[in-house]
């Protein structure tokens, strides 16, 4: 067993314990606790985005849009039909995930820039739809006083317990990725990311696997969206616009695409910034813009990816050269 895996697993377990412990630690300060909750939601989102961007190699800029669809649908179900959140959330998420699959269909024909552009257009259409069909979304004004999920005893979920629920979902989301990647499905995803033509020649049904991937990633987006809406208590189209998609993408790219830990690190480092640095509110777009450029040009592996690369180099340097570098001659 390769020591790096063990290492990553330990790190993952440590992070999980930390995530489940922090709500108790932070209970004193509602503001920090709130920031923690937001980070958890973003961790969930980042893990989902990573599934598609990190393992299948597609950059879905309509991610936030799908989260938005789920959030609006969830609110509609709870308000108009009096459904419980715990019923509305899965229903809305499932529906949004199906829509996500539909919106993902272009990727079956398009590659690289064309797919990214296409997903950008879809995101734009969704944002416009959120704004210009106000009977569902109340337009740019947004929906406020969104009721929190109810606790088992019917009381509204709040404070420590809400944070804990978010932590549980975030951990579960990351854990699911960690479980998925080594499976045959995960291996197929990676093959498609590396070279989808070759993958097809090797008997992998690229179309079907991409559809599965889109369903999963949309599910992450949707669940995160439902929790975001209830946790913040207010949503407007801007909460689910292309900038949100880009930020979530940035968490993944900055932390390290195609690793389980990377996106979590990315979300933990970047997500709190706009909350903790209120003075920098106005600068946060500039900041993330700079980060996007830096990551793309200088740090394509993200910080965790870079770390792994360094470590691999060190290990290679440590090992004595085996004879396999040159093809053996007869």
């Amino acid at each position: 067993m390769n020591p790096r895996h063990l290492n990553a697993r330990n790190m993952g377990i440590a992070l999980a314990i930390l995530a489940l412990a922090l709500p108790f630690v932070l209970e004193g300060n509602r503001f920090l606790a709130f920031v923690f909750g937001m980070v958890m939601i973003n961790v969930l989102w980042a893990s989902g985005m990573n599934l598609l961007y990190g393992y299948v190699g597609l950059m879905p800029l309509m991610f936030a849009g799908i989260a938005g669809i789920a959030a609006y649908a969830m609110i509609y179900l709870t308000r108009s039909f009096g459904w419980s959140f715990w019923l509305a959330m899965p229903a809305a998420s499932f529906g949004a995930a199906l829509i996500g699959v539909l919106l993902g269909l272009p990727s079956l024909r398009l590659k690289g820039f064309y797919f990214t552009l296409c997903s950008l257009v879809i995101q734009t259409v969704l944002t416009l739809a959120f704004i210009f069909f106000p009977h569902f979304t109340n337009g740019d004004t947004g929906l406020n006083q969104i009721a929190p999920p109810e606790w088992f005893n019917g009381a509204p979920l709040a404070g420590l317990w809400f944070d804990l629920v978010l932590a549980i979902f975030a951990v579960a989301g990351a854990a699911f990725c960690a479980w998925l990647v080594p499976t045959r499905l995960g291996q197929r995803f990676i093959a498609i990311r590396e070279d989808d033509v070759l993958a097809a020649v090797l008997g992998i049904n690229v179309v079907r696997n991409k559809i599965i991937a889109f369903f999963l990633v949309s599910l992450y987006a949707a669940v995160g969206g439902c929790f975001y809406a209830t946790y913040v208590g207010f949503i407007s189209p801007r909460a689910f616009d292309v900038l949100t998609s880009l930020n979530i993408w940035l968490f993944v790219a900055f932390g390290g695409r195609g690793t389980i830990i990377g996106p979590i690190i990315g979300a933990v480092i970047l997500a709190p910034i706009p909350f903790l640095l209120q003075e920098l509110q106005a600068f946060k777009d500039v900041l993330s813009g700079v980060l996007i450029i830096v990551v793309t040009l200088v740090l394509p592996g993200g910080i965790y990816g870079e770390l792994l690369r360094r470590r691999a180099l060190r290990r290679a340097a440590a090992q004595p050269q085996t004879g396999t570098t040159a093809a053996p001659r007869t």
Partner: protein, 237 residues
């Protein structure tokens, strides 16, 4: 009965005709070579047969199935696979991962560890397993490509210029490997290098501007007047 049966295959790109009514039969266990100058449609032929391109017209049967318009991954399941002129492996993954990925196809009924081990040693990749495939030499990559295909127990493997870009000594080795490969599955091979064809192929098909102009044993093809003036003349240099 014949393993591969291609009849009246035609394909054109815009105005350019790539293939025109090409018929090719191939028996199981046979090694069929295909030669022809650049742009004569050899690779197009392989692309169509392996499902990466759609033919404009024509018929195609493989191992008793009608395979016209089938997707590459379906063909892979039927046991038809191919290699690439520009070698194609998962450069970003380790050799071991490359092999594992190839093994995904045949879940339970896949090769036994032992057989895989035997293959790996035969292709002398056993020491390179945890290297990154991108870091291998071209020759190693070509061998890895072969290994990944064989791990899927293909009935027919289509090789697109298997010795392209290899050093002289490596070419000799490759030909050796391919001759041993004939025992394992049927081979369809495109080549420029006459030597490969002469030493491997039981039969040769000659393409010229998308049309089949000759079909027969290497010895007599290489004597064929048209082939010589159109083709051999140009290559031996």
């Amino acid at each position: 009965m014949s393993l591969l049966e291609v009849s009246a295959l035609s394909k054109h790109f815009g105005g350019v005709i790539a293939l025109k009514n090409v018929d090719v039969q191939m028996r199981a266990g046979e090694t069929l070579g295909m030669i022809g100058p650049n742009g004569s449609g050899k690779t197009t032929f392989v692309n169509i047969v392996s499902g990466q391109l759609r033919a404009d017209s024509g018929g195609m049967r493989f191992d008793g199935h009608d395979t016209l318009g089938r997707q590459p991954h379906e063909l892979a399941r039927l046991g038809l696979t191919r290699s690439y002129q520009a070698v194609r492996v998962f450069a970003g993954l380790s050799v071991q991962k490359n092999i594992d990925t190839a093994c995904l196809l045949l879940a339970g009924e896949g090769l036994a560890r032992a057989q895989l081990q035997e293959l790996t040693e035969w292709l002398r990749l056993d020491l390179a397993l945890d290297k990154s495939a991108g870091g291998l030499t071209l020759f190693e990559q070509r061998r890895l490509e072969l290994l990944m295909r064989l791990a899927q127990r293909p009935k027919l493997i289509m090789l697109d210029e298997p010795v392209g870009g290899l050093a002289v000594t490596e070419v000799r080795e490759m030909i050796l490997l391919l001759q041993q490969l004939k025992a394992r599955c049927s081979i369809f091979v495109i080549e420029h290098t006459m030597r490969v064809i002469r030493e491997l192929a039981d039969r040769v098909v000659v393409l010229m501007a998308g049309e089949k102009i000759a079909d027969g044993p290497p010895a007599e093809i290489l004597r064929d007047q048209r082939v010589i003036e159109h083709y051999l003349g140009t290559v031996h240099a």
